[in-house]
Symmetry: C2
Subunit: 888 residues, 2 copies
Amino acid sequence: MIKLIFNFNSEKSKKIKKPKDELGGKGANLSQMGRMGLPVPPGFTISTKVCDLFYKNKKKLNYKIINQIKSELKIIEKNVKKKFGDLKNPLLLSVRSGARVSMPGMMDTILNLGLNDKTVIALSNKTSNGRFAKDSYRRFIQMYGNVVMGVESHNFEELIENYKLTKGVLLDTDLDEKDWDGLINDFKKIIKDKTNKVFPQDVYQQLLGAICAVFLSWESNRAKIYRKLNQIPSEWGTAVNVQAMVFGNMGNNCATGVVFTRNPSDGSKSIYGEYLINAQGEDVVAGTRTPQYITIKARKLAKVKDISMEESMPKVYLELKKILKKLENHYKDMQDVEFTVENNKLWILQTRSGKRTSKSAVKIAVDMVKENLISKKQAVLRIDPNSLDTLLHPTLDEKSEIKVIANGLPASPGAASGRVVFSSEEAQRLNDMMQDTILVRIETSPEDIQGMHAAKGILTARGGMTSHAAVVARGMGRPCVSGSSEIDINYEKKIFKAFSLVIKEGDIITIDGSSGRIILGEVQTVKPQISGDFSKLMSWADSMRKLKVRTNSETPLDTKIARDFGAEGIGLCRTEHMFFDEERILSVREMILSKTLEDRAKALTKLLPHQKKDFMEIFKIMSGLPVNVRLLDPPLHEFLPTSDRDILEIANVLKIDIREVKSRISELHEQNPMLGHRGCRLGISYPEIYEMQCRAIFEALAELKNKKIKAAFPEIMIPLVSTEAEIKIMKELVVDVAKKVQNEKKTSIEYLVGTMIELPRAAIKAKEIAKHAEFFSFGTNDLTQTTFGISRDDSGKFLNDYIDNKIFSIDPFVSIDDGVEDLIKIAVSKGKKQNKQIKLGICGEHGGDPKSINFCSEIGLDYVSCSPYRVPIARLAAAQAEMKKNKS
Amino acid sequence: MIKLIFNFNSEKSKKIKKPKDELGGKGANLSQMGRMGLPVPPGFTISTKVCDLFYKNKKKLNYKIINQIKSELKIIEKNVKKKFGDLKNPLLLSVRSGARVSMPGMMDTILNLGLNDKTVIALSNKTSNGRFAKDSYRRFIQMYGNVVMGVESHNFEELIENYKLTKGVLLDTDLDEKDWDGLINDFKKIIKDKTNKVFPQDVYQQLLGAICAVFLSWESNRAKIYRKLNQIPSEWGTAVNVQAMVFGNMGNNCATGVVFTRNPSDGSKSIYGEYLINAQGEDVVAGTRTPQYITIKARKLAKVKDISMEESMPKVYLELKKILKKLENHYKDMQDVEFTVENNKLWILQTRSGKRTSKSAVKIAVDMVKENLISKKQAVLRIDPNSLDTLLHPTLDEKSEIKVIANGLPASPGAASGRVVFSSEEAQRLNDMMQDTILVRIETSPEDIQGMHAAKGILTARGGMTSHAAVVARGMGRPCVSGSSEIDINYEKKIFKAFSLVIKEGDIITIDGSSGRIILGEVQTVKPQISGDFSKLMSWADSMRKLKVRTNSETPLDTKIARDFGAEGIGLCRTEHMFFDEERILSVREMILSKTLEDRAKALTKLLPHQKKDFMEIFKIMSGLPVNVRLLDPPLHEFLPTSDRDILEIANVLKIDIREVKSRISELHEQNPMLGHRGCRLGISYPEIYEMQCRAIFEALAELKNKKIKAAFPEIMIPLVSTEAEIKIMKELVVDVAKKVQNEKKTSIEYLVGTMIELPRAAIKAKEIAKHAEFFSFGTNDLTQTTFGISRDDSGKFLNDYIDNKIFSIDPFVSIDDGVEDLIKIAVSKGKKQNKQIKLGICGEHGGDPKSINFCSEIGLDYVSCSPYRVPIARLAAAQAEMKKNKS
């Protein structure tokens, strides 16, 4: 017969090939610790294969399994010198589920199994603690009644509450042994009432019932939904762990605790943890008693007098220390270990990889490489790229007390405090007076760029993770909470409401762009410090990756930051952001409102030197690296004034009637600007605009060359192409201007011309488009919008309904959706078929998302591009993606 | 050596397999007439193959070809007893191009070739008309100088104009022989000046130059562009026709004319045409003399005294009549024939299929089947489906004089006159007073539906062929001119400007929705009459097609019209249009503005009986046929009031503050409503709305069944699906309501549930979606919008630039674009892979476009659906598509 039950009692415990598959995560670790000779309370794991047999056998355990369980139980009894169901020295058991991966929705643990009306007396005698024994018994009945027999928890809770009311006490701890005796009877009665079954006194019946309950929980609705969302196959099944109970609360030579092999908050290499003498695991968590430190060092550092374990139980402490070292050496990772001391004997209940802060994760990984515990590759793979975000931005001081007044989307990481302002002008005015502000807008538009720069943080009521506010804030490295439907802004009254609370202009709030929280008042923030460990880890990652990482940037400041963060060029330089500068916006408006080609040309001539200067600066900062410049993209009406004052100003400049300006503005209005007169459609209608931009680029390059300054290598990108004809016509325009400038300046300039692939048709027709494009850059923001037919700016209204209904497991504007992926794959394959040498990159927001970066690596893109502050994340994610690719 | 030149001089002229391929259209007909023994002026055709050789031989004719040309020329000389270049009786030639299909952009004709300073004297003597001879000579120099030698026409025209100024006369006819003599010298001089070459006196040099010019014109820019747009392969090449000139102006026994074998305006079977005695072809066209009728019957009918050809040249007339019959019998189509009588000898210069009105096209096709000339299939294939439009709508009386004041897009066919109104309310008010109106709006919105019904026609300044105005107007059968950027509307002043003209409210205008013209004042219109011939033709078409034709309709009136036009069900019943009815809109608004589920449910309860009634009526009219009902699609804000009066009204009904209503309206505002909270996204957020609609459908069916009235077969369509989860959840909702109603009403109802495929992601993920969909209906309007990223409502701003730049050869909202086609093909193939039985249709505007219908037939859809007035067009197009499919 096949072995289906494995004990973890000794070094001789059977080692199996794929322990996690067969024993589950918990079982595998227990088995490993057994083999290492560590003091694990004896027990056994029922294999995941039994779960399958259980369901095939009409949800029953067959007699062979039951016999195996009974014989394994005998071994435990021998081992601990107690007997299951014994009336003098009863063996109590814990029964726990354990799938390959930790899975919410499944039964967790039943403790103290083996107690009944008789064995509870034995326990009481053994511990000389009647109250403890009865309390344990009632807890067991409650757990068993709920999990195994299906009586809802509240039934038991209500009985306790009523009893306390009658007795006139508040806390459970106010109840004594006799009180529990009464409640035990009530509990048994309610089980009888609700299930028409008696709570089993037979300990074997208890055990088999608990094991079956674990298997049944594998197919509970919650577990099924979790599996579906996380793509866990239903065939995996769960294992069941049955283990002897040990007690840390049988006197002062007993204790219980939790310990980390290293410090999880700063990563330093010293044991860190808490313990309690004469206590059970629950007590450490419950907070009724203050836990004590494990080591003298930690106790002294914390300036605490309570004696440490190192002092109170020096021998046990030394044994624990040795075990911790063994465990870390074996698992090659920082461990989180639960232990119990029963009558001076140390028992290790559980070990697992410990949770840690981002900072300590980096330190631990780098230290372990130094200690030859892990390889550089393992170190790089061990860090969650997204966690780096907190290392690069100010974060809320975790010690501060905070009052969250509303929540929104975590649109751009970092925390900031400041006075509430409702307009960009006010943000600028206060900024000039050295006051910090938070710009609060229903939504932002390109007109707000200056104000967003001036503010310390941005909060919007509308718009998703890739709304204008979110994209721009991330680009600038400003914290941003977007799309908070919980706030209600009234510009007129200069207030916003968060539920019943009213916040006025000038009030101070704090936003946490990493969590989406909006907090009343000022909260201390912690500035990021980039450590040597971080740099080391990043340099390892760089040596492992193939995918290049560029940045999306258009200002010299951002470009500088990005290069410092390791950006290898610019993947998207949005030229329109350059248009909003105060000096230029008037010329831009003049250009747009011109009626004739001549007037437009005149206005464009004014803009030329500005754009040229912008490009010269950026090309210098990115010298030697590629810079991808996207020609004008947004619909022209985005640049037009909305306030009467601004309209009057432009009317005066143009010397035309204000009504005519208004009428022209209303003419340019669009129903769906996202699908309107923008991108290369502007270049087709007004080639003179693109000509000016190309001239600015080429003249900047020529001037740098003549000054012998090493410049960047330009790539000129045509936006929103959907047909072959568009890219063909636009490429001719670029080549034409390049020729002219080269002739005029008597120099030669190298450059590429290519296009964004950001419309489904462009992906479908990539073969034809690739005839004229030297590169494709996937604009996945717009591609996601058009593929789904969802506007980022409007999705806030139903995104929550979609996540509630599990239609989206993740916002498709955060990680590339698989439908969009299909289109990208089509484009890559068709583009390469036409032009093997075509350069491929991504410049949508997804370029900074690790999951999406993995996809980009899989399909063989050349680079990803993301906002400056995400560059390190992308570098790490790219390295991990490369390793995953080599593995598979 | 291969034969490359073919003469058409006799019955023995060589017959070749694919005459059009080798001889071009014109040459093939000349050759055919030659073989039929008809009196064709002798000549020969240089094969299209020579065109290829010409380009391969460095754009020169090789000596073998030249020798063949010369020997063919000898045969002509013999035949007509004239000699090329002869000083007494010179042979003159015409040289004409002739590709397989008629192609603008290519050289057309050079006449009178063979004239030089000497032969012109011979011609003058022969015709006893010196002025005519000199005029012919100068025309020849002018044509040759331009076409062969490349001197721009205006050079010659300017010389004539200057000369007339000096002489003080206005018309060319005021110039005499001597005047032309002088100009001939000037012409020769200007050729010398411009080209540095002498106008050739050698007639052979003239001939070879003209032939080469024809070949060269095949690669002219205009010809290349035309070929590209019409997908004509460049390899086809052109043929050249060289033919002896005959003269209808050598005396009173000469004449020239054009004749149709049947009447092209009404299709009646009688010869119809015009001729002029002692005249050249040009004179018939120029209008300097009034042409006379061919037959006595026609002359009498027109009450004209001028003698007919039947009377003036009875023998020649009889010969002509016989020839016409022969030609029609041979070509089995109505022919348009050019002839010349030279000294009582009849010559047939050309024959081709004659242009005809839509009405006569139908009559001729049906008559020819009766006459056993053509088969029913040929008759069906011969009618352009789009031409039926004019048969179904009122058209402008062609005899009226009209003043076009502006142009727009021909958005919905038909013509209408009425008083200009600028609001739907005014349209209704005047309608109540029995006054006809034209509703003039910048653009229309669903709020205008009532006004559009009340008006006789709709004119908009914005929006394309598939804008709201266009779609709704076509659905209603109202004429509509949309997107007229030439008009400038001012609602405040109640005027619109068309260039400098100002039209006030109340002024009468006429719009022609078939041509896009906007006309001042009232124009007589001709009402359509559906003839028996039309019905016969349609019944033949029906027997030949497999593709079903449904209609897009939501009112009983439209549904009735569509069924009368032969619709086989409804492909798209837009339930939202039912919401705009005056009785209901208030409940709709109440439902939208409700804050709680309970209030919303209350408002929905009020709407239920209305929707149920709508469905009952439609299901009765379409009894026995499928009716596809689309659940609510547009974003809710489309239903909200915009005027203060309406806002106040709803505030009173809801008993809430008007400011709160306004704030709720502004909350519902969307940046890009096309990509917003609409379609099934509403069903996910507010399932109670879809539940009400499904209940209305099922209760309507149950009631009809209980009353034993045969109902339609319902298909319930979920709009704007992009993920599998959406259709799954929505299908469950429908099935759930169906079960409930069936239980309540104790009946069973058959129905299908399916989805629109109108988003790229839905096409890409069709396999997953088909798991839950029993049908797909391609919503190609939205699919085109999202595939291209173009909003129909905003495309007007750049569509012209796109057509000017040849980026679009056709508006992709009119005929399905090939990128969109690729997505549809993906969806069909993936959908069928999942579910072989899946029903497939199209309900976008393209469902009424013949080119798109052909595509639908090719990829195997089950049905197309279009607006009621396009149903006959679709039936015919579907039959033609089927025949094309069987052919290939």
